[in-house]
């Protein structure tokens, strides 16, 4: 009996460890009290004040747009890079190319952020673009980081036996372009979608890189929240956290559904 109960207990402990802080935050979002960690009865007042907080809304809207833009750009660049790594075989410099992409993943964000800042400042001094720092520079910096993640996801997806599927398409009369459009692209699509979501989340979450490359015009949500933290927390942040959590859950659910559809399709392919 004891041994049977040990597993559920460990599971419960693990889940509590993971989710207790998050649930606490969501709980306090519905608290009427002005101190963000004190229960003052159920209330939606902080959602109302949040809705009236134009700076927060604006930052959230900017973050969404930057994240969407960065994810799209990252998917384009990273998709091509991942395809090249998986398909072009042992081209000259492949190992170096792969290492350069991988390095972006492990480089501390502080270093990436500083490097980006130096690049943008130097570029502005040299060619006058980008003029100042703001949403555009944050978007470019996030796209750079996101592209590396997308490349890895796409490469992993294509590492299977899809080369043979392209050959089968060509054998049946499809030129390289038609084979890519009708076979490779549809098979890459779930990886591209997953990569886009990953890049979107990375951008939406990012505080460190954005702190370096965002000017006064490019205050993203994490940057604003972090600066608000220094002035003193209000339960509005809790409310905001609850909303973001709901959105994130939506995204994760979507990604899981996508991957499962893909898995079911590929499930019978075994060997």
């Amino acid at each position: 009996m004891r041994r049977v109960r040990l597993v559920p207990c460990l599971l419960a402990a693990g889940l509590v460890f993971l989710w207790a802080p998050v649930l606490l935050l969501v709980g306090f979002a519905f608290s009427a009290d002005r101190i963000p960690f004190q229960w003052g009865g159920f209330s939606l007042r902080w959602f109302t004040t949040l809705a009236a907080n134009e700076r927060l809304i604006e930052a959230a809207w900017l973050s969404l747009r930057v994240a969407a833009g960065a994810a799209t750009l990252a998917t384009l660049i990273g998709g091509v890079a991942g395809f090249a790594l998986a398909r072009w075989g042992a081209f000259r410099g492949r190992a170096l190319f792969g290492a350069l992409i991988g390095a972006t993943l492990v480089l501390p964000e502080v270093v990436t952020g500083l490097a980006m800042l130096l690049l943008f400042v130097t570029l502005e001094a040299a060619i006058g673009w980008p003029a100042g720092r703001g949403a555009l520079t944050v978007l470019l910096a996030h796209a750079t980081l996101g592209a590396a993640y997308v490349a890895v996801v796409v490469q992993a997806r294509l590492a299977g036996n899809e080369r043979m599927l392209e050959e089968a398409a060509m054998d049946l009369g499809a030129g390289p372009a038609a084979a890519f459009r009708t076979i490779t692209l549809p098979l890459m699509a779930p990886a591209l979608a997953a990569g886009w979501l990953l890049a979107f989340t990375l951008s939406f979450d990012d505080l460190v890189i954005a702190s370096f490359v965002s000017g006064p015009a490019g205050t993203t949500l994490p940057v604003l929240v972090f600066s608000a933290l220094r002035l003193g927390l209000t339960p509005e942040i809790n409310a905001l956290g609850a909303i973001i959590l709901a959105l994130a859950a939506l995204c994760v659910g979507l990604a899981v559904l996508l991957m499962r559809a893909r898995w079911l399709e590929g499930g019978g392919e075994g060997g």
Binding site: N161, M164, L165, E167, A168, A169, M170, D171, L172, G173, A174, G175, A178, T182, I183, P186, L187, L264, E265, G266, G267, G268, E269, G271
Partner: protein
């Protein structure tokens, strides 16, 4: 002789320093079932991919009905291939898979649907058109892959290990179906296989390859009865290869250094005495029951061993028992090397 369909002239391919295919000549006749037989690394798959256009040769040429197709890309060749693990498109239904080549060729609408139905009936998969590849069994996938190639009505169909991924029970039946389809469509089939039983059972002619070289080409019965070399003898029938210097042989065709001696051609007598040439004594080292016959490995008194196949009704020796072996002079087939 049937008209020539495909001519392979001095075709060769190397991967870096490794020779995958030494310059090789081969002719495939229209409407024949041809098997390329060899172990891994024999070059059989490379040859198939060269014919399909999926690899470019380093030298030599390919002629299809007299027309040089050596430089044609795979999508421009009227040759189609069934891939070893079928390569069905997982994001398309069975009907979409089969219609893929037709759509590329501009066959659409009712005509496309009619040809898909026709070929589905041919491979006994009527009503399976809407299924996805992951929803059907391995044997059904094999038939979809076949249908996808056959719907293009090729004069030459290439099959890469068409039966290898199937269960043993399904293999024989599917082999016969393959044979029947080949006759019904009139297309020439070129099948790659590592299984000599498959090649001997299905093909009109077989080519044995080893190390990128063609060892022997001929009808299965001829190649089996008269292997040209020790390699072919061993590979085809698990025949005994005996050296003239080692045993007291009295072959019908003297002069060769080695002879092939098939296990079922050797007479085995328990506790028997040996007389004269083409006979030798030994003791049973291993026994393997094979249903209709039993295989004995006999350790010879002078060293070495022979494999002997004894029909089920004959008297059987037991392990370690002394036996006498004998054979006819005609059964010693001279080998080139």
């Amino acid at each position: 002789m049937a008209p020539l369909l495909l001519e392979v002239r001095g075709l060769s391919r190397r991967f870096g320093a490794a020779v995958a295919l030494a310059p090789l000549d081969l002719a495939i006749e229209a409407g024949e079932f041809f098997a390329l037989l060899g172990g891994s690394g024999s070059g059989k798959s490379t040859l198939l991919r060269l014919i399909a256009g999926l690899e470019a040769p380093d030298g030599g040429s390919l002629l299809l009905e007299g027309r040089d197709i050596t430089r044609d890309p795979p999508w421009a060749r009227p040759i189609h291939m069934m891939f070893q693990s079928y390569a069905l498109f997982p994001h398309m239904s069975v009907a979409e898979n089969i219609g893929y080549g037709l759509r590329r060729a501009g066959v659409r609408g009712a005509e496309q649907a009619r040809r898909i139905d026709e070929v589905l009936a041919l491979v006994r998969l009527k009503g399976f058109g809407a299924r996805r590849p992951h929803q059907i069994s391995g044997g059904q996938k094999q038939r979809v892959a076949l249908a996808r190639s056959l719907v293009m009505r090729p004069k030459l169909l290439l099959l890469d290990e068409p039966l290898a991924a199937l269960d043993a029970g399904l293999r024989e039946q599917t082999g016969f179906e393959l044979r029947a389809l080949q006759r019904a469509t009139g297309a020439a089939f070129v099948m790659v296989t590592h299984d000599q039983g498959e090649a001997l059972a299905l093909a009109d002619r077989i080519a044995v390859l080893e190390g990128g070289r063609l060892m022997q080409v001929g009808a299965p019965a001829d190649v089996y009865a008269r292997p040209a070399s020790a390699f072919v003898a061993r590979f085809l029938g698990a025949a005994n290869v005996v050296e003239a210097a080692h045993l007291s042989l009295s072959p019908a065709e003297p002069g060769a250094a080695a002879y092939a001696l098939r296990p079922e051609r050797i007479r085995l007598t328990p506790n028997g005495a040996t007389t004269g040439a083409n006979a030798i004594a030994g003791h049973v080292r291993d026994v393997a029951f094979r249903g209709d016959a039993t295989l004995f490995v006999v350790a010879l008194d002078g060293g070495g061993e022979l494999r002997v196949m004894v029909p089920a009704d004959d008297p059987m020796p037991i392990m370690g028992e002394r036996v006498a072996l004998a054979w006819d002079a005609d059964d010693l087939v001279p080998l080139a090397a």
